[in-house]
Subunit: 381 residues, 2 copies
């Protein structure tokens, strides 16, 4: 049965500012006002930036996500160590205000170029490299409590989608059932005023790690036969892809089922999709999907499926180190089934990729492996 979804009156990005834009603009003006008010009152201009570090990251067991703690850093104008970053923060805030007013978006690199110049009368550059610029934008995100996407800044589009879903993308209706072999590119900005879900018959999302695996599933029309949506994120999925998966989960109630490699990298990708990451802990509530499921590849598969020896890739010393680190993450540490999964991989002494299932036939993964696991709900959570 097709779900009919009442969409919010989202505007294409070139329309008048949305309510969300107005709210962001208000926050930006508030930041500038605080600085100005202090200065006019003869007080030292200071801004407070929540600390983005492992020590200020909290595991919220109840919500099942990583969150940022209360620690904040002061950024003072009249402090030799902080004056430059203070200035950088103000320059970027000003660019973002312009972007919102113009109803345009810009890439991380463009924002860096926009800001980079030699300070008049000095030989000092505002920014020397983009490595200096990107963290200042993250500072603004977390200080203002506004997603990068709400600041009108995008990264590279990455990841692809097909399946039983109709999406409105900046006013264009995308029928994801008719996207051929190419698929619809998942945009970097997928907030509700840009992207709305119009019609969805799908019962779940199958998220795979790599584009080449996605090709196999799309060619076999897995999403049609199994009434789902098929996505990949080209490795560690970027923010746009994670946010879209979260919206599909929260707004349409679709389970997110992940098919990733049986190796520490696959486990880490799952961990980030599910609980969030330390570096973006301040955005977990808009990115993390605590309900996400890990369907495979499982360490038991080698024996259970009589896979050929070719499926085995020896674990390196670094793999073993990473596996132990991941096993010690609080959200895995308390999970007996995950502890056993990682232990079994370490006992095997080898990792396995999804592609290795070709040892059982070209379409074994789409016609047998995934359908059987789904039918008996054989996954890790």
């Amino acid at each position: 049965m097709a779900k009919k979804i009442s969409t919010k009156p989202g505007l294409p990005s070139k329309g008048r500012p949305t309510a969300r834009d107005a709210a962001t603009q208000k926050k930006l003006v508030g930041l500038a006002d605080t600085v100005a008010r202090n200065a006019l009152a003869g007080k030292e201009p200071v801004i407070h930036v929540p600390t983005r570090s492992k020590s200020n990251t909290i595991w919220n067991k109840k919500r099942g996500i990583l969150e940022i703690g209360d620690a904040k850093q002061e950024r003072q104008l009249f402090n030799l160590n902080q004056a430059k970053q203070f200035m950088q923060t103000m320059i970027h805030a000003s660019t973002i205000k312009d972007l919102i007013e113009l109803q345009k978006t810009a890439s991380l690199r463009s924002v860096f170029y926009k800001a980079k110049h030699t300070v008049a009368g000095t030989k000092e550059n505002t920014f020397d490299t983009q490595d200096e610029s990107d963290p200042i934008l993250e500072d603004l995100e977390v200080s203002l409590g506004a997603l990068r996407e709400e600041l009108h800044i995008f990264a590279e589009n990455r990841g692809t989608l097909v399946g039983n879903l109709t999406v409105i993308d900046r006013g264009d209706e995308i029928n994801a059932r008719k996207q051929g072999s190419g698929g619809w590119g998942i945009p970097s900005i997928v907030e509700p005023d840009a992207i709305q879900f119009k019609k969805c018959e799908a019962k779940f999302v199958l998220h795979v790690e790599k584009g080449t695996v996605w090709n196999r599933f799309n060619e076999d029309r897995f999403w049609e036969k199994n009434n789902c949506i098929l996505t990949h994120g080209a490795g560690q999925p970027p923010r746009g892809c994670r946010r879209l998966l979260q919206r599909l989960n929260q707004e349409l109630g679709l389970p997110i089922i992940c098919l990733l490699d049986c190796d520490p990298w696959g486990h880490y990708i799952y961990s980030v999709i599910k609980q969030g990451s330390i570096s973006l802990a301040f955005e977990s509530s808009r990115l993390a999907i605590p309900e996400a499921k890990f369907l495979g590849i499982r360490a038991k598969d080698y024996r259970e499926l009589h896979l050929p020896e070719a499926a085995r890739i020896d674990l390196s010393d670094n793999d073993i180190k990473r596996a132990n680190e991941i096993a010690a993450y609080p959200w895995f540490e308390e999970n007996r089934r995950w502890q056993s999964e990682i232990r079994q991989m370490l006992d095997n002494g080898f990792k396995m990729e999804v592609e290795a299932l070709i040892g059982r036939g070209i379409s074994f993964v789409t016609e047998t492996y995934v359908p059987e696991r789904l039918a008996r709900k054989d996954w890790l959570e």
Copy 2:
């Protein structure tokens, strides 16, 4: 005026084998027959593989493309140094025959997994790593005179397209005018029996280097205002993207106009799009676009457009080395305007990225730079 294109009766990939498949299958069987006939006649089984090296690459000045020469290497079964590669070639040929019969495609990695096993009664593996496997597939391409795509093998999809074009992709009609901010992902396999052009009003293709630049042009609806198709290839465009551009050029007569960075990497990308590359010289006639144009960024732009100092990135020693190597390519060496372009970049002592044009305004590149250059046909060829 919209061009109506009579499409060939292309089949979705899951239909019965196409004429192209039948031809490829015949070549594969021919290869096997030769080996079998020799063996049965008591002669040594040998295959001949055209040599893919710089020394066997010829610059065809008249056609304006790189071509592979006549040099061939023997691959003998009864030669200790060649027996393994002989076996590897036969294993992959057999997998490809299966793929075509099943009407399926497989990724480079899957084909490696399919072939990898321990030879019965020995401790020897057929393949140890994918690095051994991919060149054997290229050997088969060039020996059989069949594109990798014709061998039913794909790489990662990469690159995106929007614009005034309707495409049929494995039977699905894709309206590239209605692809939102995400765009249609350019598939890895874009041969005529998979992808047909249905309707095209566009007068040219603007091909940009990066996805983030593509986003700027798409957000400003450049393709709509300038009646074109907008593509990117995520850096050096993969084969699927290059082949699609070539088909748009040859079948629809659209000029391919490239907007790339003013640096040796941008010049090299242009060179590959235009003339082909040494490693894929055997496929130039199906990939290269001798008519492709280089619109910018140009070395003169810094002064001509009064760009801010921020636009400059100092050339590294390696950049200078690469620039001189590229200037010595025969197709650039004989081109006075290109010699002057590279010289000017070296004299400047700096490179420039497309994103740096933001120094003149967020949409300067889409509203002023490209339209003005197009109007006065200010490009390099």
